[in-house]
C-alpha cells in the first residue's frame, strides 16, 4: 500500500492508540509531582492496574467494574506509598522504586491463574464513521472511550492547574509547603490526594493495556512503559499539554519503526527500537541546559520530605 492520505489517517490512529497508556500515567504522575511528591512507582502501579482490571473482567464479566476496579487498585497500592512517604517520612525515591518492584512481583503472583485466558472485546465508539470518512475517520472515530478520556485529560489537567483554586493549592504545596502551611493548607492531605489520584490514573493506564490494547494478561506486560511515562513528565517540563505531544512522539516512534520495516526501509531495527530511550536522554540533556524552561513549571520542593512541626 502506498503512502496515500487514507493510509496516513490509519497510521495516526494506530499511533494515538499506542500513546494512551503513556498519556494516562504521565498525566497522573504530573499531578503527583506538581504537589511536590516524586513517585517512581508508576510501573508498579500500572502493572497492578493491568492485572486487577483483567482479573475483574474474567471474574465479573463486566468491563465497567474492571475499569473502575483497576483504578481502585491503583489507589490502594498508592496508599502504601502515601503512608510511607507522608506519614512515616521515608525517602521518595527509595519508596517509589520499592513500589515498582513490589507491584511487578505481586502482579505476577496474582496473575498466575489468568495467563492464557482470552480477553473480551472492548466496545469501540462510532465504528461505522471510521470506515466511511477517509483520513479523519480512523483518527477521530472507532476508538474506545478510554482513548477519548485520555486525550481530554491533558487539557482538563491544564485547566485544573491554571484556572481552579484547587489547582493553585496543589501548585502552592509543591512549590513551598511551608508557605502553604502558613496559609492554613493541610499539605499532607493535599499530597495524599495527589498521590491517590496518580495511582488511579496509572491503574487505568495498566487496564488499558490488559483490557483494550492487547486484551490478555501476561507477566510484566507494561514492559517499561511506566518508566517512559516518568521520563515523559520531565520531558514535558511538567506541562500537561506537552505530555500529550511527548506521548504522541514516543507512541509514534514505536509504530513507525514497525511500518518502516514492513515497507522495507533499511534502518537497523535495533536502533529504531532503542529510539524512544535515546530521545528521552537527548531531551533531558537539552532541557537541563535551559534552566529557565525547567524552572517555569518545576515544583520547587519535588521529592523533598516535608515535616510539619507540631
Amino acid at each position: 500500500m502506498s503512502l496515500d492520505i487514507s493510509f496516513i489517517g490509519i497510521l495516526i490512529g494506530s499511533i494515538m492508540a499506542s500513546s494512551v497508556p503513556l498519556i494516562l500515567a504521565a498525566s497522573g504522575e504530573l499531578i503527583t509531582e506538581r504537589s511536590g511528591v516524586l513517585n517512581l512507582g508508576v510501573e508498579g502501579m500500572m502493572i497492578i492496574g493491568a492485572i486487577s482490571g483483567f482479573a475483574l473482567m474474567v471474574i465479573t464479566d463486566n468491563l465497567f467494574i474492571a475499569i473502575v476496579g483497576s483504578m481502585l487498585s491503583g489507589v490502594i497500592i498508592s496508599i502504601i506509598f502515601g503512608f510511607l512517604t507522608q506519614s512515616l517520612l521515608t525517602n521518595h525515591v527509595a519508596t517509589g522504586l520499592a513500589l515498582t518492584i513490589f507491584g511487578i512481583g505481586l502482579s505476577a503472583m496474582l496473575g498466575k491463574n489468568f495467563v492464557g485466558i482470552p480477553g473480551k472485546e472492548f466496545p469501540i465508539l462510532f465504528s461505522s464513521l471510521r470506515e466511511s470518512i477517509p483520513f479523519f475517520g480512523p483518527i477521530l472515530f472507532g476508538h474506545s472511550i478510554v482513548l477519548y478520556f485520555a486525550f481530554a485529560l491533558p487539557f482538563l489537567t491544564n485547566y485544573f492547574l491554571k484556572k481552579t483554586k484547587l489547582g493553585l493549592v496543589v501548585r502552592a504545596v509543591g512549590d513551598s509547603p511551608v508557605s502553604a502551611t502558613n496559609q492554613g493548607i493541610n499539605v499532607i492531605l493535599v499530597r495524599y490526594c495527589c498521590i491517590l489520584y496518580g495511582g488511579a490514573m496509572c491503574g487505568l493506564a495498566g487496564a488499558y493495556l490488559s483490557l483494550i490494547y492487547t486484551p490478555q494478561w501476561i507477566e510484566n506486560m507494561t514492559a517499561g512503559r511506566g518508566w517512559i511515562a516518568l521520563a515523559l513528565v520531565v520531558f514535558a517540563t511538567w506541562s500537561p499539554i506537552k505530555v500529550l505531544i511527548g506521548a504522541l512522539i514516543f507512541g509514534g516512534i514505536t509504530i513507525l519503526q514497525l511500518h518502516m520495516q514492513a515497507i522495507g526501509f533499511r534502518i537497523p531495527v535495533q536502533f529504531l527500537s532503542a529510539l524512544p530511550y535515546l530521545m528521552t536522554i537527548i531531551v533531558l540533556v537539552v532541557i537541563s541546559r535551559d534552566s529557565r524552561k525547567i524552572k517555569l513549571n518545576t515544583p520547587t520542593s519535588l521529592g523533598r520530605i516535608f515535616y510539619k512541626e507540631k
Partner: protein, 354 residues
C-alpha cells in the same frame, strides 16, 4: 549400646543415600522460555512434560527463563539438584546447555532447535516446522485478495528464515504475484509488540498474517481487523475462531516419553532428531471451513504428500533474492543446507537484519 546405635544410624543414612540414586528417583527437568500458559510454544512443551509425568516419571520445570546468563544458572541448578535428564526448550539455551553439560557428565541433556552437541551427554531435537509452513503458504496464497502476506518474525536464525522461505515458496507456487512482508520484533514473547507488528502489517495491506513468535496476540489482532491468520505452535483456534485458518501444532509428547524412558533404562544415546509431519512431531490444527471444501481437500492431500516424502518443501529450482541458484531443478535441499539457511529466497521483500 550407643556405639551400635550410631553404627546403625550411619549405615541407614548410607542406604538412604543409595536409594536416592536408584531408578525409583529418576527425575527429569524442563526449562521453558515462556510461561506454561502462553498457549503457544511453551504450552506445548509443558504438554509433553505432562505426558512424561503420566508415564510414571517424576518431572520438574522452571518457566519464563530468559535466554542468556540466567539460563545457565537455572540449568546448573537443575543438574545439581539430582535431575538425570534435562530438556532445555529454546534456541537461546544452546551455549548454556553445553556449558553445564561439560560439568555434569552423568546428567543427560536434550536441547531443542539447536545444533551444538559439544559433549557426549548432549542431544538435540527439533521438528520440521517448515513442512507446516509449506501448508500455510499454500493456503495463504489461495486466500489472499491483496496478494500480501504479513509475517511477524522473532530473531534472524535459520529456524525462522527457513519458515519464511518455505511459506513463500509454497505461496508463489499457487499465486505468482504474492509478496511477503516481514517485521522483525526481536522477541519470542511480547504480546504488545506482536500485536503492534500485526497491526502495522494489516495497515500496509496484508490480509493474511502469520507469526513465528509465541503469544496469541497476532491472531487476536487479525480477528479484530477481520483478516486471516494462523495459530503457531499450538491450536489457537479459540483465541480467534473466525480468523484462524489452521494452526501448526508441535507435538513433543511421544519424543519426550521415549527419551525419558531411554534415559531411565540406560539406553539413552546422543542423537540429533529432526521429525516432521511423518512422525507426527508437526501436526496441523483443524482447517477452517471458510477455506472452502476444495482448498481443504487440496491441502490435506499436500499434507499427506509431505508426510510420505512425495513432496519436499524445498524442491528446486530455488533462487535467492539476487537470482543465484540455491537448489538446482529436480533436486531437493539437504538437511545440512536447511539447518544453516541464512538467505531469503526470491520474492521475499527486505533484508535479513544482522
Amino acid at each position: 549400646m550407643y556405639k551400635n546405635f550410631f553404627k546403625y544410624l550411619i549405615s541407614a543414612i548410607f542406604l538412604l543415600g543409595f536409594s536416592v540414586n536408584s531408578n525409583a528417583d529418576f527425575k527429569v527437568g524442563f526449562v521453558y522460555v515462556g510461561p506454561t500458559g502462553d498457549h503457544g510454544w511453551t504450552f506445548q512443551h509443558h504438554e509433553g512434560r505432562n505426558a512424561v509425568e503420566a508415564a510414571g516419571i517424576k518431572t520438574t520445570f522452571v518457566e519464563s527463563v530468559p535466554e542468556g546468563a540466567d539460563a545457565e544458572r537455572v540449568i546448573r541448578q537443575l543438574a545439581q539438584s539430582g535431575h538425570d535428564l534435562i530438556f532445555t526448550t529454546s534456541f537461546g539455551y544452546m551455549d548454556p546447555t553445553n556449558k553445564v553439560a561439560k560439568d555434569f557428565p552423568n546428567v543427560k541433556f536434550e536441547h531443542a532447535t539447536g545444533y551444538k552437541r559439544e559433549h557426549s551427554n548432549v542431544s538435540t531435537y527439533s521438528a520440521r516446522f517448515y513442512e507446516g509452513r509449506t501448508l500455510l503458504g499454500h493456503i495463504a496464497g489461495k486466500m489472499t485478495k491483496t496478494n500480501t502476506i504479513g509475517y511477524i518474525a522473532s530473531f534472524p536464525i535459520p529456524e525462522v528464515i527457513r519458515g519464511i522461505n518455505a511459506m513463500t515458496l509454497a505461496a508463489q507456487k499457487v499465486n505468482p504475484n504474492i509478496k511477503t512482508k516481514i517485521v522483525w520484533v526481536f522477541t519470542w514473547y511480547d504480546p504488545g509488540k506482536e500485536a503492534e507488528a500485526a497491526q502495522a502489517l494489516i495497515d500496509q495491506g496484508a490480509d493474511v498474517i502469520m507469526q513465528h513468535t509465541d503469544s496469541t496476540a497476532p491472531v487476536q489482532t487479525a480477528e479484530k481487523a477481520g483478516v486471516w491468520s494462523f495459530g503457531q505452535a499450538s491450536d489457537m483456534q479459540r483465541f480467534a475462531p473466525k480468523s484462524i485458518l489452521t494452526s501448526i501444532i508441535d507435538d513433543w509428547a511421544p519424543y519426550y516419553v521415549e527419551r525419558a524412558i531411554a534415559a531411565r533404562d540406560g539406553t539413552w544415546n546422543q542423537q540429533d532428531t529432526w521429525h516432521g509431519l511423518k512422525e507426527g512431531m508437526v501436526a496441523m490444527g483443524p482447517y477452517n471451513s471458510a477455506m472452502g471444501a476444495d482448498l481443504v481437500k487440496e491441502v490435506e492431500q499436500l499434507q499427506k504428500d509431505l508426510a510420505s516424502g512425495k513432496v519436499h518443501s524445498f524442491t528446486g529450482p530455488i533462487y535467492d533474492q539476487k537470482g543465484n541458484i540455491l537448489v538446482a531443478e529436480g533436486k531437493v535441499a539437504d538437511d545440512g543446507m536447511l539447518a544453516g539457511m541464512s538467505v531469503y529466497v526470491k520474492g521475499v521483500e527486505g533484508d535479513i537484519p544482522k
